[in-house]
Symmetry: C2
Subunit: 174 residues, 2 copies
Amino acid sequence: MVSTAPSPTDRHEAAQALVDFIHEGIPLARDMALQLHHYDGEQLTLAAPLAPNVNDKGCAFGGSLVSVMTLTGWGLVELALRARGEDCDVFVGESTVRYLSPVWDDFLSAAQLAPEADWTTFFGTLAARGKARIEVTCAVPGDEGKPAATLSARFVAKRRAHPRTDAASANAAK
Amino acid sequence: MVSTAPSPTDRHEAAQALVDFIHEGIPLARDMALQLHHYDGEQLTLAAPLAPNVNDKGCAFGGSLVSVMTLTGWGLVELALRARGEDCDVFVGESTVRYLSPVWDDFLSAAQLAPEADWTTFFGTLAARGKARIEVTCAVPGDEGKPAATLSARFVAKRRAHPRTDAASANAAK
């Protein structure tokens, strides 16, 4: 556990480092042209342009929406672990996706813990068992404050048996 | 409805035309280098190489797995509609994804109707209402005959108000 709360600048830099790492490790994330939009420690928001993520109808491809939402959820968990100095593999285990309305423009994807989830329980379980799961929700905002797509996903974090020393090789998205 | 059953060659050509259309309309499908593997009228199987779909760990990126499975399910429904001369928009409405084991190599994705679904009901509803939904299951085969990832998805087909005359502009994946 860190003893001092990170500043907004620290958080932004940590989130940017994670996005850079995603681009290095996952060719499809580069193809989708994912960018960091905002991270405040509770919510992570990524941005994606429509052009590389379009379908034949001119709106966002469902595969892009679910990929971006899954990466945003994964990133939220990964950033919380990194902020506490935990060296874990993080996997998405199961997710439910709802496609509610078409997305006709560049889009955002915002992830936060599910209402019933909390970091205290998650880190307590991780400390006790070396492994813990947590539920995350993610949404792509649509018109009039309604989501255009949502994702509920369970992520599993597992401490590495042999922690990596090279920061650049830290764990990236499943 | 067609009155004669299509031959295996007809089916393969129809499926190849669909995959070509996906590549034209969806940049991310090109990036994923999706290919037709097999189509027999009941099951559609697409293939994807690992290299463009890899994550930092060297296994398949979860976003690629879910994208390929969603496109395979969408393609199954689209091919059934095309074979019957139906001109519809097909959307994925909701899906549940399970990531069961990592995929370390090029992979396949095989889609078929869910056990409780049948084409007769689907086409009957479409004829009566101009809109129908159907449940599809999809799996990425893993080791020892077990799936590495599965998807259950509901697709909605809706007849177009103004059918397109240009075959090349027929509907592609959500």
